[in-house]
Symmetry: C2
């Protein structure tokens, strides 16, 4: 890492490179970024190429900040901002942070405050000397987004200190030669659930994901493996997406003393907070002792350093991280690690959907170099082909129409995040176009809140959908028929005994949550329909029902009749999964160029990983493995 | 491990099981053994089935010791011992240890003191109340054997304490369920050298071997891998054999604070001490700083708990070790680990020779259960077939005759341990039978001392040879023509300029030691012959010379002309290796019954492990791997 230097060297180099009429008061690391404080922020802003040049020479992300006192008064600045930004941006709110010379601007159309390639932003800074952070006013109110933003605002002081510490650690001189890279599997091998891996070099240890296992609460990642210990010595955590089988146990790390960064996308940060808090609620409801408290969820959020798709970010002296759209859920990413200066490259696919869906663009599979890929295999079995989307949607329409005609209710267990929004789009379109009768679609559990988070980050949605939400006032998620179940059990009883309707309810694998009540209310009536649209992991009640087991036991009901015979119609419609099917997984690998030398097939049951790894080996001549948990692979 | 109990429970159970007229004063663990102290040792000795019954019920090795004061006076006891043991036993020496009620009897024929199935021993104990440990007077004087015995005698007090501590640890209640077993490769993967592995269960970590890498002094086992750390937490070390590529760095563990047991055979303990001390000497001579001092070698010896071939020994609450003859060198063993009560079985082959040789019986490959084998692959390449022994010996005779006829000298680089003794047997027979002229055979380096250690442990030699050494006064190793080079450089110069002779000299891979002087003295004369008879590892000077490189540089000779052109004849004779050749390795696996499910091919260069693992997979339908260093495998 010959391009790394000590802190004082760095100050020296920057001063040398910057024209002498520009002031460099202080140089500081803020997480992966290098921040230059200056008495002459306006002059820096004029010199539009300089920052890019510095970034290239120093090979760091560079931010310029006005030194305290070098900027206009807040009131003067606000006037200027409103003057320069176009009215259509609809600026809602401004908050000034004098200690760091930053103002947060919330606008309905933040792109208009930023301008083409940041031109408007630069103009404003040139005038007022403050740095702008522009955020979007969510088109649907989201308490999660609000809470996270407020919380981070409160914690700004502490966070700055944290970022400074992380920055120093990232930019330290690496001690040892890069003789090897290792991957340790802490979970999700030959199973779906408890995703967790350690990526280590002689200098660095990185934890990728830390999830729970749906349907098997005791089975957590092997965090006690010596390769993961001590957790306090881990350099960075990277989270591929917010689903609990990847994120549930991240807060536990903070309980065990970890106080380093979590790198992930902004929507994943917010969704993760939402799902983790729900995880705690569900655990309490079911009489289990949650492994951590909401305080640790806040810790996790506070320690998150957001990265955007495609940004190359230093996360350790010898590791650069780039996250890429994985097409699975909002903010989901594949994590690409470039280790050393060209020494080795590893991709963790995370959960991927290769084809574009209504919600998201398809997963990125175009990387300059990937020697080893750790790849999901959920639908890796030979027969795991899903019907195509059009056919699947027709099947959904059919089932709903048939149930409607019998005066029945359709209940769909769905992950709050991902499949619910996909189905909302399907239902909204079908009702708008008259393919199915317009009827209420009730959202139970956190589906509405998760949907609101989607609308807060439209840049993470598929291009066309983004436009509909932002520019054409055609936001499909706020159509009239979508109604939140916010009246508790009483409201559910009313709905269950009422008119035909569709219910989307969590949990997606029938492992708890309001879906249990719906089964109890709707299960005995054969005119109703239970429709599965997502993957049901082994060991979950959803999987057992799918397998024909209609005699079920409702959990946590010792005081009532807790056995129930399902009389309602049971259907499974494939094609809505957030996961690539077997063909998609093969295509994802087949169309990579160059292809990885080695693929570890994980995140699938024993058959899926076995059959996928055989197929990839035979078709593409790639070295493949189907690891077990607790194994360590060494590269190159 | 339901058969394990706490210490006081144990005392209770023993008292219940023992007839009431027998006293049980105290129960103690001594390493893997359970020792019962009694006021009535003579009555215990009369009850010959009792000890076996106790051992079976308690599933422990049981020893009875007289409580202090319960035995005859030393002088009375000595008289009795000499009276009961037959004169032909030739008792040389007796030492009494009143605190532990033990007397060490050194005899030329220890078997006669022990008697059939221990009958004589029992009779003696019944009479005198002392426990006997019978050791053999070495037929050749060995300073190593003497030193080790004297040292252990001095340290008897401390050792007893150590054994007590180890015993408590072995027999503790295991804390965790046996969900998995793991093997971590710390060295000797895709290479020959630095053998070292960690075997772990949720309760236990065991280190197997800890060697150096000949020809690459800096490359030591990856002891800093988190799977091996902290070294102080390791439960037990198991050493398969004494060669430095397996044993050199064991003393380093004690420098790093390890103070647990090393399990190995008695001859391996002594040979290991000899070779480690030599390792330190060679390092100093070559100007390298040895990684540890002779004090740590003594620590290693003091912490060794000897095991015999075939003995099942508890070495941890969930691990039983059995060592089996590996046919490679004196005391060499394959280490079989039985984990849990039938949970899993792993065999570390160590270095093996499957066919019997002149020195040793062939490697044992008959185990009731082995699910996974970690297997050496030194000669694993497709073409690695050795000529058969008869042919090889004829070739040796031929080369010696031809060199003799030209008045030249034959110099043979050989490991002090193993190949040297094999060749001594070949040469002794050929000279005795007149196949080659009788001439001096000079032994340089530690060969004579190593040979003496062989004669101290004849029960580890091949059956016929054992008889020759013990009973027929035909000890081939003390034939007249074998002469020690004990006059330093001057003697070497005399020999080199003298009559035809054969020289056996260390080191075996021409990486240092007296062989360097012999090359310098004999190398320029084309009438001489350099004859390789053993494996030359990659990176060693031996390998380079074998490969045709005759322009060599002698190390550590900056003050003299250190470049040398070898003019002497260079020959390699295969068939004397201590390693099975490719056919032998295949046969070793092929004739196992049942065969392992999984084989990890290690201890061979990249081609050897690759080709052997492919062949074993194809021929025997076994899952095979060729691990890299720093990988961790999980079973089942």
């Amino acid at each position: 890492m010959s391009d790394d230097t000590t802190h004082s060297d760095l100050h020296e180099r920057i001063v040398t490179q910057v024209p002498s009429h520009l002031d460099v008061t202080e140089v500081q690391y803020e997480g992966p970024d290098l921040v230059i404080y200056t008495e002459t922020p306006r002059k820096f802003a004029e010199n539009s190429d300089l920052i890019g040049d510095l970034a290239r020479t120093l090979r760091k992300r560079v931010t310029i900040r006005p030194a305290p006192g070098a900027q206009s008064s807040p009131s003067g600045a606000e006037t200027k901002i409103r003057e320069i930004a176009p009215d259509e941006a609809q600026i809602q709110d401004l908050e000034f942070y004098p200690t760091i010379g930053e103002v947060i601007v919330e606008a309905e159309k933040p792109g208009l405050v930023i301008g083409q390639r940041g031109s408007t932003l630069r103009e404003i800074t040139r005038e007022i000397g403050w740095n702008l952070e522009v955020v979007r006013t969510p088109p649907m109110e989201s308490s999660t987004v609000d809470n996270v933003r407020n919380f981070l605002t409160q914690e700004r002081g502490e966070r700055r200190e944290f970022l400074g510490k992380v920055g120093e650690k990232i930019h330290r001189e690496p001690e040892k030669d890069l003789e090897w890279v290792r991957i340790t599997t802490l979970g999700c091998c030959r199973e779906v659930g408890r995703a967790s891996f350690v990526l280590h070099t002689p200098n660095t240890r990185i934890l990728i994901d830390c999830g729970d296992k749906p349907g098997a609460e005791g089975e957590v990642p092997y965090l006690h493996a010596p390769e993961a210990m001590p957790l306090t010595g881990i350099d960075a955590v990277v989270l591929t997406h917010a689903h609990l089988d990847h994120s549930a146990l991240l807060p536990l790390l903070f309980k065990y003393g970890y106080d380093g960064p979590i790198y992930t996308t902004e929507p994943t940060r917010d969704l993760m907070g939402l799902l983790q808090l729900d995880y705690l609620t569900v655990a309490s409801k079911e009489g289990r002792t949650p492994p951590y408290s909401s305080e640790q969820v806040r810790q996790a959020i506070k320690h998150t350093i957001p990265v955007e798709y495609g940004d190359v970010t230093d996360i350790a002296p010898d590791v650069k991280l780039t996250m890429h759209n994985a097409g699975h859920i909002l903010g989901s990413a594949s994590a690409h690690f470039h280790i050393g200066n060209g020494f080795y490259n590893i991709l963790f696919s995370g959960d991927v959907h290769y084809e574009p869906t209504r919600l998201f663009n398809g997963a990125v599979n175009d990387f300059p170099r990937v020697e080893t890929m750790v790849m999901e295999s959920t639908y890796g079995r030979r027969g795991d082909y899903q019907t195509d989307t059009e056919e699947s949607e027709q099947r959904v329409h059919e089932i709903i129409r048939e149930t409607y005609e019998k005066d029945g209710i359709v209940v769909i267990p769905a992950f709050a995040v991902g499949r619910s929004q996909e189905l909302m789009l399907v239902l909204e379109e079908a009702m708008r176009e008259g393919t199915i009768p317009t009827m209420p679609v009730y959202l139970d559990g956190m589906i509405r809140e998760a949907t609101a988070i989607h609308t807060a980050y439209p840049e993470y949605l598929r291009d066309g959908l983004q436009q509909r939400i932002l520019h054409e006032d055609e936001n499909p998620f706020i159509a009239d028929q979508f109604q939140q179940v916010d009246g508790g059990q009483e409201m559910r009883e009313d709905i269950a005994s009422g008119e035909p309707c569709v219910i989307l309810s969590t949990s997606g694998m029938v492992t708890g949550g309001p879906i249990m009540s719906w089964l109890e209310l709707l299960g005995p009536d054969p005119t109703n329909t239970l429709m599965f649209v997502g993957y049901q992991a082994e060991g979950t009640l959803g999987r057992r029902i799918q397998g024909g087991n209609v005699e079920i036991t409702l959990p946590g009901r010792a005081d009532r009749a807790n056995r129930l015979t399902l009389e309602l119609r049971i259907e499974s419609v494939s094609g809505f999964s957030g996961h690539a099917d077997r063909a998609g997984l093969e295509q994802y690998v087949g169309e990579m160029n160059p292809r990885p030398e080695t693929i570890l097939c994980v995140h699938g049951d024993e058959q899926a990983t076995d059959q996928l790894s055989s197929a990839l080996y035979q078709n593409y001549n790639v070295r493949t493995y189907q690891p077990k948990n607790l194994e360590t692979f060494r590269f190159p």
